[in-house]
């Protein structure tokens, strides 16, 4: 039963709109309830072939050799696909928005980085024939040490998971091993606070578990095109990704989607379409590549695990004057969307509260776990859980009513948020008031009288006069090489691909060997030395070897996401 509290914000709302505020029947409802909605798997073709992958049984292993000779001779087997058969066997989803480096192969070549990573794909007349052939493939693995914990993964000497990011952290803004947020001077405020309250919170990965497992069917079409029926949630991501990895012009790909049997963020990764099309290209036949339930659960990218450390500086009257975050997102072995989730989450900090001093360091960490991706509100959910659990902890520590604590610290219309946007349409105070009323939780009359519309702005609209900044986590070599960006970015409008890959197979980033603790080991400026720039790195922004101005004119992700420097 929905109850509308129309007394709130009545003058900010038009109740006579045609759609908003009115019940609307979903356009696909009739098809769903009558069982007529056509899903990707309802499009069957004569002579349809099936594709299945041989997957890594190890968290981390070097591939010494692969012997597919017996599998290729199995009855019904049409093609055994190896890494070398993939035209461009390295990609990252958000490369289409020039965010991040290509780091994930379609089929593993030199090593596997998580349990379930695909190594060989088999195309055969039946799924059974695929399974039987896969059972005959011999892979010689050299098992490597693995790391499954985010904080273990960024310690010096930890196994290096992802060859594109050898220090196990995503590179932000071509400079830092973490995403920074700095607003005011947290350390100074913590020293002035009456109480300092610390907390550690974490959230496990969550599988989206759609009823329809991920999959695609690709078939030859006239005019040298391919038609692709897919379960994707992101049709044009999938189209762009397929065009890039297969080095075909996107106008040769006819993608048909739109009916998704449950997605929840788990169908944006564009894993199936390129593989199905490649199978189709190599055999000339329609090819279906769909996960079974076990693959969906084990290999399907979940919402990633997060760990948060929160430190609050609180006054005796309940005002929170400082909040410091250290966050770790477990990206799994490759990037997918955790890097973006962190940008989104950082924009949300410090939660729906007005706190004059905020700092945050969030790390996108590579571990030998299943790559993590989107899921409903990802980037916000974990930290919001942490923030609200922490609010209760603060309330308990200083002996204050937890709802009153929230109302007291709530953001209000006109307040400056830590990411330097003015808050508007805030409603936390009203939510707290209604929750207290519904839960029969007593709050003081002064808190009942507060409003999101009153008391905001003014001083609270100002960006702090002094914001403490630092160079902690600056990555050696950044800003002076191509580590942070792609010299020849993918341009979707290019009709044909160059014969040589436009993407470096090995990133130009090379750790300085002289000071490395071990060959190939992470090269990171230790946090304790953070305030002192090292002699080998010049952080002065005016002297990069490759000036920012000379970079290709492409849409920076930061401008798309609304986080551009202002």
């Amino acid at each position: 039963m929905i109850e509308f509290r129309k007394e709130y914000f009545a003058d900010e709302r038009d109740d006579n709109l045609n759609e908003i505020g009115k019940p609307t029947q979903r356009q696909d409802m009739l098809g769903h309830v009558t069982g007529r909605s056509p899903y990707f798997d309802d499009h069957l073709f004569d002579g349809l072939l099936h594709l299945k992958c041989l997957r890594s049984p190890h968290h981390h292993a070097r591939i010494r050799s692969v012997d597919t000779s017996e599998a290729e001779r199995m009855p019904g087997v049409k093609k055994v696909i190896r890494a070398r058969d993939v035209p461009l066997n390295l990609n990252t989803l958000l490369s289409l928005m020039d965010f991040g480096l290509d780091d994930e192969p379609m089929l593993a070549d030199k090593k596997v980085c998580y349990v379930g990573e695909p190594v060989v794909a088999v195309v055969a007349e039946t799924e059974r024939a695929c399974f039987d052939a896969i059972a005959k493939i011999r892979v010689d693995y050299e098992v490597l040490p693995h790391v499954l914990d985010v904080e273990e993964a960024i310690k010096p000497g930890a196994p290096s998971v992802n060859p594109t990011y050898p220090t196990n952290t995503f590179l932000y803004h071509e400079k830092y091993d973490h995403q920074k947020l700095r607003f005011g001077d947290v350390e100074a405020a913590l020293r002035q606070a009456d109480h300092v309250v610390e907390g550690r919170y974490q959230m496990s990965p969550i599988e989206q578990a759609p009823t329809e497992t991920c999959g695609a069917i690709a078939a030859p079409e006239t005019n040298n095109r391919f038609v692709v029926y897919t379960s994707t949630q992101a049709l044009f991501f999938s189209l762009g990704t397929a065009a890039k990895m297969l080095k075909v012009s996107s106008n040769r790909l006819h993608f048909i989607g739109g009916t998704v049997g449950g997605g929840f963020g788990g169908k944006v990764d564009s894993i199936h379409e390129p593989m199905a099309i490649l199978g189709c290209m190599l055999t000339g036949k329609p090819v279906r590549y769909a996960w079974d339930r076990e693959e969906e659960m084990q290999v399907g990218a979940p919402r990633g695990a997060e760990r948060w450390y929160i430190t609050d500086g609180v006054m005796n009257d309940g005002r929170i004057i400082a909040r410091k975050f250290i966050g770790y997102f477990d990206s799994g072995a490759y990037t997918r969307l955790s890097s973006y989730a962190i940008i989104k989450g950082t924009g949300h900090l410090p939660g729906p509260y007005t706190i004059p001093n905020v700092s945050s360091d969030v790390y996108c960490v590579f571990t030998n776990r299943t790559p993590a991706t989107a899921m409903r509100g990802f980037g916000i959910t974990g930290v919001d859980f942490s923030i609200e659990a922490h609010m209760d902890k603060v309330a308990s520590k200083i002996g204050m009513n937890p709802i009153e604590l929230r109302i007291l610290n709530s953001y209000r219309d006109g307040d400056m948020k830590a990411h330097r946007r003015l808050a508007k349409n805030t409603a936390l105070i009203e939510c707290c008031q209604v929750v207290a009323e519904k839960a029969k939780w007593k709050i003081g009359s002064e808190y009942k009288a507060m409003s999101s519309l009153k008391g905001g702005g003014g001083e609270r609209a100002l960006i702090p006069a002094h914001t403490a900044i630092d160079q902690k986590g600056m990555v050696r070599g950044s800003g002076t090489s191509s580590f942070g960006y792609q010299p020849q970015p993918y341009v979707p409008s290019t009709p044909t691909f160059p014969s040589t890959p436009a993407f470096p197979s090995v990133p130009a980033y090379t750790p300085a060997a002289s000071s490395s603790p071990a060959p190939g080991a992470p090269e990171r400026r230790p946090a304790e030395n953070a305030p002192t720039p090292s002699s080998t790195y010049n952080p002065t922004p005016s002297q990069p070897a490759t000036p920012v101005e000379q970079r290709p004119a492409v849409n920076r992700f930061s401008s798309i996401s609304g986080l551009r420097r202002r």
Binding site: K52, E127, R128, C130, F131, D132, I134, A135, D292, E294
Partner: protein, 270 residues
């Protein structure tokens, strides 16, 4: 290797064919074996099944209720003779699974499956293999791996003097049909207000359904009240070997076992 299916009119023929092949599996309802087929299990290439009507019978024979091994959970629920087992059958999977899953197949289902078998164990059932003599379910389960080559024709359940003496609970996260955190089945015969020859069995508390022998001993001669069952609760986890799986950990299963055993024994509704 292509999968072949061999169907026999007589259960004895099916049993002989199974015994003669090392790469054959017997299909009861198919809820486990067909999943293995779908996932490309390489350990077998032949499916053996039978249409023998003996496997589809439910009958009273003397002091025994005989349930054919091919009887599905749905049929257990629908049949009047097996009505006291309907609450057990209802906890096995959703409707689609219950329409396929059989009494015979459940005997071989690896933990944490096999709730129906736990109930049969408490009921002191015997299993009847094709071409052989009935063997007690305890004995059958203790050597289940060796018995994998047997084809079971039916199970025999001694007639309960008091149907109300049989109690069963399945603890699951999805109710009622989720995979078991644990299940408990008990037959609690009373003589002059005292328990006599109680049988208690657990599902999902070991690699196979098992008797809670210490609990049974502790209940002997006691009354079904807080004081009477105290000793039984104290030894509730004696002899168990619970799995740690995605449903629950070994530790968790041990912690909750006395709680659910207490509720079952005292007839407390949750």
């Amino acid at each position: 290797m292509p999968m072949s299916v061999k169907t026999f009119a007589q259960v004895d023929e099916a049993a002989r064919a199974l015994a003669a092949s090392r790469s054959a599996r017997y299909l009861g309802g198919g809820t486990l074996i067909m999943r293995a087929v779908n996932y490309g299990d390489q350990s077998f290439d032949t499916i053996i099944r039978t249409t023998d009507p003996r496997l589809k019978q439910i009958a009273q024979q003397g002091d025994m209720l005989v349930i054919g091994a091919g009887i599905t959970m749905s049929e257990v629920i629908a049949n009047r003779e097996t009505a006291f087992l309907a609450p057990v059958a209802r906890t096995v999977g959703g409707p689609a699974i219950r329409n396929m899953a059989t009494v015979g197949g459940n005997l071989f289902a690896a933990s944490p499956y096999g709730d129906f078998t736990a109930a049969l164990l408490a009921l002191d059932a015997r299993v009847v293999p094709a071409g052989g003599q009935p063997i007690s379910l305890d004995e059958f389960l203790n050597a289940r791996e060796r018995n994998a080559g047997l084809v079971i024709v039916s199970v025999q359940i001694p007639r309960l003097r008091d149907v109300n003496a049989f109690r069963y609970v399945k603890v699951s996260r999805v109710k009622p049909k989720g995979i078991a955190v644990m299940s408990i089945a008990a037959v609690l015969p009373m003589q002059a207000g005292r328990l006599a020859n109680a049988r208690v069995a657990y599902g999902a508390m070991g690699p196979r359904p098992l008797r809670a022998l210490a609990v049974e001993r502790a209940l002997e001669g006691r009354s079904l009240d807080e004081a009477g069952i105290a000793q039984a609760l104290a030894v509730a986890t004696e002899g168990v070997d619970p799995p740690s799986d995605p449903i629950a950990s070994d530790w968790y299963r041990r912690q909750i076992a006395p709680v659910h055993l207490k509720r079952l024994l005292l007839g407390q509704r949750r």
